[in-house]
Amino acid sequence: MSHHFIRFRDVHYTYPGGYEALRGVSFLITHGEKVALLGLNGAGKSTLLLHTDGILMATSGEVNIGDVPVTRKTLPVVRSHVGLLFQNPDDQLFMPTVEDDVAFGPRNMNLPEEEVERRVSTALEAVGATALRRRRPFNLSGGQKRMVAIAGVLAMEPMILVMDEPTSNLDPGARRRVIELVRGFDHTCLIATHDLDMAAELCPRSMVMAEGRIIADGPTDEILSDIETLTAAGLWPR
């Protein structure tokens, strides 16, 4: 798979409870692009991101990661290419220690132990959490958990990085570190966020979601100045 693009074609998704969270989503993110996904609470951002990794499967429509369509059969390939950061780090951290947790992905890829160790150290260092190595994830602070969760994704060395609100709960220093990390990541990136400053700084392109649809897609500066219009339409608060 040489081209790490993400393509959604008319994707619909209805939660088991009957709520239709995605109502026809289509877009193409090409290799190396960094895209911000904006939208109000409940717009469907997290739902959309879960589709990039085959955690949720489209009720109808089609999701492609590079040349690979996301289906049950292709899950292992898709998941080895996509690194997904969950909105709630508590959902993501579950191993007894921080280092075990960061090593979880690489070990599942059956890498040799020295390589696992190298990746764990590199990832923890990248997020500045080396000191937390032997701590238990469950009693870290919210921001520390977030950083460790990011390390867990980085350790998989994904070709496509998909992050759900990576900067929420972070102090300014940690937020800055995450921004620099993403900037240094030269593959495809899709980031759902409420942090408009980060979007403006990192992502040349933005998509805006509302009620399960993408209602705007274009250069971030234009989108952000267009928020006036969105506000007028009742889709954005003052």
Binding site: I55, F86, P96, F104, N110, N139
Partner: protein
């Protein structure tokens, strides 16, 4: 309430790691996880299959928790204290024995000791010993490795994963209780007890939420390439020490089980 909960979560999470149950003191000479698992199983099977009335033999089996805890560096008093947890359960099973079984076994200073009492005491001792053996296992290698050991012994991956997930689910459940309890307390205006109706809502919510969390956790595992099999690459190999440990204890257990040491002893004394 919320303090006790936090401590419960802490203990649970500690137990997950090798040496976690020992409150900081390091485990000396931890055996291979498979070795200790097999050893514990042999012990449990033999010790629990001693007839109830044969109380001396059951008592002799206490040599394992006492010596092994010393070998790995856990204080036996700690082990004993923790193992008292099983008492209510065992008592529940055996409490009617003294009433139901009134055959006289022997008399001491005019007190008749009936078969019912003997079997109750025997039940209690067994319960304590079994719990102590299991605690040693979990303290030394940690819950996670118990699951790994099961897998390394050749059991199907589904089994070890199930065990791990049940454990995972337990800590998710406890954490959920804690968060919800805090939420209730925060707006409870100092009321100590929840009304019956609130309890109903609480339990219902708890189930739904922890199911949801469990679902999310499993999603996150799969997102990082988990395929329902624990990765096994990093574990240490079986050594001669492990064989010696397993071999010598097994011999001790079989001797206690087969040879009526108790009767010899009482003859000598």
């Amino acid at each position: 309430m919320s303090d006790r909960l936090q401590r419960a979560i802490l203990t649970l999470n500690r137990l997950e790691q090798p040496g976690g149950g020992t409150d900081g003191t390091d485990i000396i000479a931890a055996p291979d996880s498979r070795c200790l698992l097999v050893l514990t199983l042999i012990y449990l099977v033999l010790m629990l299959s001693v007839p109830l009335a044969d109380i001396e033999r059951v008592l002799l089996f206490s040599v394992y928790p006492i010596v092994e805890s010393a070998l790995v560096g856990i204080k036996y008093t700690r082990l004993l204290k923790r193992s008292l947890w099983v008492l209510p359960l065992v008592a529940l099973v055996g409490v009617f024995n003294p009433i139901l079984d009134t055959r006289t076994v022997f008399t001491v200073y005019g007190f008749t000791v009936t078969a019912g009492w003997v079997s109750l005491i025997s039940l209690i001792v067994r319960g304590l010993l079994a719990m102590q053996a299991v605690l040693i296992l979990i303290y030394v290698i940690g819950f996670y490795e118990v699951a790994v050991a099961i897998r390394r012994l050749g059991c199907p991956a589904v089994m070890s994963t199930q065990i791990l997930l049940v454990y995972r689910y337990l800590s998710v459940l406890l954490q959920q209780v804690l968060t919800m309890r805090r939420a209730v307390d925060a707006r409870g205006y100092g009321r100590r007890h929840m009304s019956l109706k609130l309890w109903g809502i609480f339990i219902g919510q708890l189930l739904i939420r922890s199911l949801e969390r469990a679902e999310n956790v499993s999603r996150a595992m799969h997102a990082r390439g988990f395929t329902d099999r624990l990765p096994l690459s990093r574990y240490r190999c079986w050594t001669t020490t492990d064989s010696v440990l397993l071999g010598s204890w097994t011999v001790v257990f079989i001797v206690i089980y087969l040879v009526p040491l108790g009767t010899y002893l009482s003859k000598v004394l």
